[in-house]
Structures are given as C-alpha cells and as structure tokens.
C-alpha cells in the first residue's frame, strides 16, 4: 500500500496528492510518470510525476477527474492509500539529464503549459533552475480560478506569461497567441520548446512553433495498460515509425506526431467508460441512459 500523505485541491477541479513511494522518489526524473491503481478492482491509470522529494521518499501527482477512474481518486483523503503505485516509468525529459547539460545551457527554452498539464511542466523548470538555467514559461488556463502553481513557477523560471481563454487573468487568449506575440512583436527568440497539455493544445502549439522553426517536444498521453512495453496499447505514430509511449516516450518530437490519429485512438474507451461513470454516480438508482441496461426502453 502507498500512503497518501496529503490530498487536496489545487484549484477548481484540479487535485493534488503527495504519496509515499520511496523507490520511485529515489530514482525519478522530470518527464517520467507513474501508474496508479486505486484498489483491487481499479484500472491502472498513468499520471505524470509533478514533483518529488528524495529525502522524504514522496511523489506529487496532480490530476483532473475526467472519467470514472480519476473520479474515484477524488474520494481518497489524507491518510488513505493507493493499492499500487509503480514507477518511475518512461524516459526522463532529455533536457533534464546530466549528460545533456552542456548542450541545454546553450539553448533558450520556452515551456508551454496548458490546464492540468501545468503541473508536469513544473519539475522540469525546477530541475533546470537548480542547474542554473532559467526557462521562460507560458501557462494557459480557461479562466482565472484554474491557473495553478503560479507562485511556485515564479520562484524557478525566467519570464512567466499567464493567459486565460476568457481574459479574466493575465493575457487574453490561447497559448498559441502568446507564442506568436512573443516571437513576432516582443522580440523573443527560442531554440527549444516543450509543450505539455491537452492533445489539442499540443497539436496547435506544434503548428505554431513549426512556423518559427522552433524544435518542440510534447508529452503524449495515449491509453496505457501495463506501462512496461508489454501490451502495445500506447503505440503512437512518430513520423512513419510506431513507438510505444510508455518505454520510448512519453516525450516525442511534436513536429513528427500525427495528433489527429492519436486523438482518435484516445477516444477508444469513451463509451464503455461513460457507462462505468454512470454506474458509479447513480449506483443502484441507475435506470437507463447507459445504453447497456435497457432501463430506458
């Protein structure tokens, strides 16, 4: 069992948990992820490592309930435990590997974070800061209440640009607009971009950075089962090659990714999961709507 030392809300419906997992905390690096299984009947759910404390042996995860499984996570409180918590999985971010440090120092780096994707960007920016590199960061959120980790970023990054879709805080508009403004009218140049967020955001970021020839890394979040390279559920097309995101990724060259195909694949279980969510919310009172029980006929 893996004890939850702290559980709480970061903002809106974005949850943060600090979990005791010494083996993971000892070895993880930014860019890697864990797979969490809540209880005996739970799914294996991949979540990015959003912070870690090697001494305390803890990992921080941040998630947004979108389906039945992540919804169930929100029921857990401080002091409860996850049944399973395995990691670190995947490759670390290339930027955060000691042997690439010299190369990385020469680069002007821009991070683009969207929504709940803001959390996994944090350990990368922090790691770079600890190694004397201050990267610029764009955080995009729907509205003011959903901007997370602003203070924490402020402490470790170069320039921080916040934008909200509705203009309620910071700049107004999508993150892609901020990239364009920075590069075209604000005289910024970047040699490297990392974009993490919803698939659709990463897609448009890549279209934008491509225009300005900025190499861009994205963190893919396909459907996964084992996370060890055993099932192939997580395969994504990178250029004309098939890659397993759990062992070859999750970070890939965003300009080589077929996002449209990846988004279609990700939707695979939506209907089945929709039913599970209905069952979870309505329990025994559930009568129809799931398309499964016939109660609506």
């Amino acid at each position: 069992m893996y004890k939850i030392l702290k559980a709480g809300k970061l903002a809106g419906n974005i949850y943060e948990m600090v979990v005791e997992a010494p083996r993971v905390a000892k070895h993880c690096l930014p860019g890697q992820f864990v797979i969490v299984k809540m209880d005996e009947v739970g799914e294996r759910i991949p979540l990015t490592i959003c912070d870690y404390d090697r001494e305390a042996g803890t990992i921080t995860i941040v998630f947004q309930p979108i389906g039945a499984s992540t919804e169930k996570f929100t029921y857990l409180k401080t002091g409860d435990s996850f049944r399973d918590f395995v990691g670190p999985l995947g490759r670390p971010s290339e930027l955060c590997e000691e042997e690439n440090l010299e190369e990385t120092r020469k680069k002007k780096i821009l991070f683009v974070a969207g929504g709940v994707g803001t959390a996994p960007v944090y350990p990368q920016v922090k790691w770079l800061h600890e190694h004397g590199i201050d990267a610029d960061v764009i955080i995009g959120a729907k509205t003011k209440e959903l901007v997370i980790l602003e203070d924490k970023f402020q402490a470790v990054c170069g320039n921080l640009y916040i934008t909200t879709d509705d203009g309620s805080y910071g700049r107004s508009g999508m993150v892609t607009k901020v990239i364009e403004d920075l590069v075209t009218t604000e005289g910024k140049t970047y040699d490297h971009c990392v974009a993490i967020g919803p698939m659709i955001m990463m897609k448009f970021c890549c279209l934008t950075t491509k225009k300005y020839n900025i190499p861009t890394i994205v963190s893919m979040n396909p459907i996964m089962v084992d996370g060890t390279g055993m099932c192939g559920a997580c395969r994504v097309m990178v250029g004309d090659e098939v890659k397993f995101a759990c062992v070859d990724g999750p970070e890939f060259d965003g300009h080589a990714i077929d996002f449209d195909a990846a988004m279609k694949r990700q939707a695979m279980y939506k209907t089945e999961e929709g039913r599970a969510l209905l069952k979870l919310r309505e329990g025994d009172t559930h009568h129809g709507g799931c398309g499964n029980c016939g109660g609506d006929k």
Binding site: V86, L89, D226, T228, G229, M230, M268, E272
Partner: protein, 462 residues
C-alpha cells in the same frame, strides 16, 4: 473397467455452456477416475515418458502411488522435480513431451500424465499439504527479477537451500504470463496460480510487486547497495510484435497481450472491475499459437464471432492440440492458409474490415516446415471490427539496456549458459523466455531450477 487402449475420459464443461463463461473448461479427474487411469500405466522399467519431460519428473513413480491411492506420496514424488504441478498438469504441451513418448501411445492412447499430475496437485492443495520453510537460513540474499514460472521456481529452490530470496515484479500481481496471459478458463487464477504463489511464499520467499528493474532500481544497485549477492533474471518475453501492415494503429487493433491483460490481469470480463475492453462483434485473431487460441476463445466468451487467421495449414498450428480442439468445439472459425494484407479503417480510424490473401504451401524452409506462398489475385475482405495480433513476442530490452556488461544476442535474448544460467555478468543468472524467446512454462521452470543450482554453486564457492 473401460478399454485399456483409451484414456479415461476427463469431464469437461459442455462446449455451448462454457463458450459463455470464464470458468475452467476441464473439470479434471476425481479419485476413482485417477486411479483407473493410473492403472493403465505399465510402469515401464526404462520409462520413455520421463525423457520427454523437461524436468524429468519420476512419472512411473508418482503414477504408481496414484494407482495405490497414496496421493500424498505421489505429490511428494512430483515435488522433487516440479514446483508448479497444478499449473504444468494443465498447460504443458503433453502430446509433444511426456505423453508423446509414452509406450502406451504406440498402440493406443498415451497415459493422461498431465491430467494425473493435475489431479495429484489439486488433491494436495485441497488437503492443505504445503511445502515448509527450511529451518536454517544461510543469510545470503538473492534477488529474482520477474515472478513468472522461471522466477518462482528459481526463488523456491533457493529458499529451500536456505537463501534469503526477494522476487521483484513489475506488475501489481505475481505470476507473469500465468496471470496476465493464460485465461481463467484454462488456468484458474485464485484457486491455482495464487495458491502456487502462496506455496513459494511459504518457503520464505518475499515478493515485492510494483518494482520495475531498470527503472525503479538497477541490477547494479541491487548488488552494490541492497546487498544481493546474486541476481536471477526471469523477465520473460513480453514485447509484442506487429505485422507492419497498413491500418495497424487503428482503433480496434490490439496485441494479444493487451487483449489478454485487460481481460485476465485486469479482469475486464467482470462487471465489478473498472478496466474496459472492446467487445467486438466480429473478431479476427492473427496467428496460430497458444496465445492466439487464448485470445480467440476469450473474444468468443465476450460474445463475438471469432476467426483465427493463420497463414499455414492445420498441421502446422503451433498451439497445443487440446486448445485447437476446444476452440473448434466452442465455435471459433479457422481461416487457414490465409494472410492479412491490410486493415481497413473508417472515418474515425476504427477497424472496418481486413484484406487477406489466400496462401498455399510451397517448398520446406530452413525450419523444415513448408513455406506458405501467396496465391496471386486471391485477395478478399474479411468483415471484422476488431483485430487481435498474436504474432509472437520478444524479450523486453529494458533490463539489458540498463545493465552494463550483460550480453544479448541478435534477437535481444539474454545470453546464458544452459546448464547453470550464468550470464556474461558476474553473479547474474538468467533463464526462461528472457533467454530462449517465447517458449513454455515447463522449460522456463527447468531454466529456473538450473539457475538455482548454478547460483548455489557460485555462492557456496565464494
């Protein structure tokens, strides 16, 4: 007494009934049936059956005890050579191993060695007979990577010799292919696999799940920082192969590993478990091995019409004869001498059919099997919405790529000595599918045994 030339028939669930549930197909012998079948064995002096068993179980010995009704003694005899009899009795390809060599098989049917072995193991379990931990520990720590049959066997043997053994398993449940690959209806998880794992634990073996060697910790760290004096790698051959044909990343195309893992390890077939699985209406399973049969029979039980698509003919099907027979009885359709060319997709990138081509058998190839060749112009479309690729697996490179000094061959298999399991790295041993590529449970067990002996010799001389 029945016809001595024939096996005592074993009770099975009727095909129509079992095609709709996940309960075990074969119900096994009861006492009387087992004793009657045992009486058919002529207790050969120079028993050929033993040479057909990769771990050389004293077959005439244990069968004699069954005949006499001394089941506990029979269990003791089997246990001298095998740690997982309830499993091997169920899944060994007996027709090409022990039973393939049985003298009785020349004129009539071979003795049902597997079913008898299973009976003895089940009897022992039901009567609470368990191996006991050795009184004396020698204080030496050995790490075992992977909890499949090779790892469990190696760990069990070392524990019996007094070693302090810890198994590290990447998944959340121990058992390897026995839990994630082979389905419930062939190998019950709670009643059989979990119990055999309990037996290994009863010997004092610790099992740490959720540890992925090469990521959570490396082999060098196990040895340098955690005090393990030797390591056995039994990490299997889990990496699935795909064909490389168009449409393979479409929605509705799965590796057999994914399909089986969702269903077996994650129990997607049960309402009370959360993991989803696509219940196809028409499913094609590409391949002809045990894995393909398991995927096909699983899809069938989930309610689909299922086709096995295999490029050679029935005679070349690599699966156990019993599995092919069961699959046919249950209604799986065999499209033999057929090879996929392309998976067709609709506007949502979901499978909309599969273009296949007919094959014929040509000249024998290097392996001695007749090579299948395409019949020009024979393409046709198979109407399916789900495709399960079951083309074989290779060892996962995660361990070899994170361990300096561990040599592998061209097929990414770890190179290890057959007699001792010794690898190119000092103190590191390996066996099972990680060394041979995908093979069988009993061969993996045999390799685990050999390595336990190799490790014992190495650590005794240190």
């Amino acid at each position: 007494m029945g016809d001595v030339l024939k096996k005592v028939p074993v009770r099975e669930q009727a095909p129509k009934v079992r095609a709709a549930n996940f309960d075990e197909v074969c119900l096994g012998y009861n006492k009387e049936e087992a004793m009657e079948e045992a009486a058919r064995c002529i207790n050969c002096k120079n028993a050929k059956c033993v040479t057909g068993c990769p771990v050389n179980i004293n077959i005439p010995g244990f069968i004699h005890e069954v005949k006499e009704g001394n089941f506990e003694e029979a269990y003791r005899i089997i246990s001298e050579s095998s740690a997982l009899p309830a499993i091997c009795g169920r899944v060994c390809p007996q027709e090409s191993q022990c039973e393939g060599k049985c003298i009785r098989g020349i004129k009539g049917e071979a003795i049902s060695i597997g079913k008898l072995e299973r009976f003895v193991a089940d009897w022992a379990r039901e009567n609470g007979i368990k191996p006991t931990a050795p009184a004396e520990k020698n204080g030496k720590k050995v790490a075992v990577i992977g909890s499949g049959p090779s790892g469990l066997t190696c760990a069990g043997d070392l524990a019996k010799l007094g070693y302090d053994v810890t198994i590290f398993e990447a998944l959340h449940e121990p058992g390897g292919v026995l839990v994630y690959g082979i389905p419930e209806f062939r190998l019950p998880k709670l009643d059989v696999v979990a119990k055999e794992v309990e037996n290994v634990k009863a010997l004092g073996v610790k099992i740490e799940t959720n540890v992925i060697i090469g990521r959570s910790i490396t082999i060098d760290e196990l040895m340098d920082e955690e005090g393990f004096e030797a390591v056995f790698i039994g990490s299997g051959a889990g990496l699935p192969m795909f064909m490389g044909i168009p449409g393979e990343t479409a929605k509705g195309v799965f590796s057999a590993n994914e399909y089986l893992t969702r269903n077996n390890l994650m129990k997607a077939f049960r309402e009370d478990y959360d993991t989803p699985i696509v219940r196809g209406k028409k499913v094609a399973v590409v391949g002809g091995g045990n894995v393909a049969m398991d995927a096909a029979r699983t899809a069938l039980r989930l309610g689909a019409e299922v086709h096995i698509v295999y490029r050679r003919s029935e005679a070349e099907l690599p699966a156990r004869v019993e599995e092919v027979h069961h699959a046919k009885e249950e209604g799986v359709i065999f499209d033999l001498l057929t090879n996929p060319k392309e998976i067709l997709v609709d506007e949502n990138d979901a499978v909309a059919g599969m273009t296949c081509i007919r094959m014929e058998l040509g000249e024998p190839d290097a392996s001695g099997r007749r090579r299948p060749v395409e019949i020009p112009g024979s393409e046709f479309t198979l109407d399916v919405d789900t495709v399960i690729m079951s083309l074989g697996t290779s060892p996962n490179p995660l361990i070899s790529s994170t361990t300096v000094g561990l040599d592998t061959n061209r097929r990414k298999c770890i190179i290890a000595d057959e007699e001792t399991g010794k690898t190119s790295k000092d103190g590191v041993y390996a066996g099972g599918d990680a060394v041979t590529g995908a093979a069988t449970v009993i061969l993996a067990m045999g390799a685990g045994k050999a390595a336990a002996k190799g490790i014992h010799e190495f650590l005794s001389s240190k």
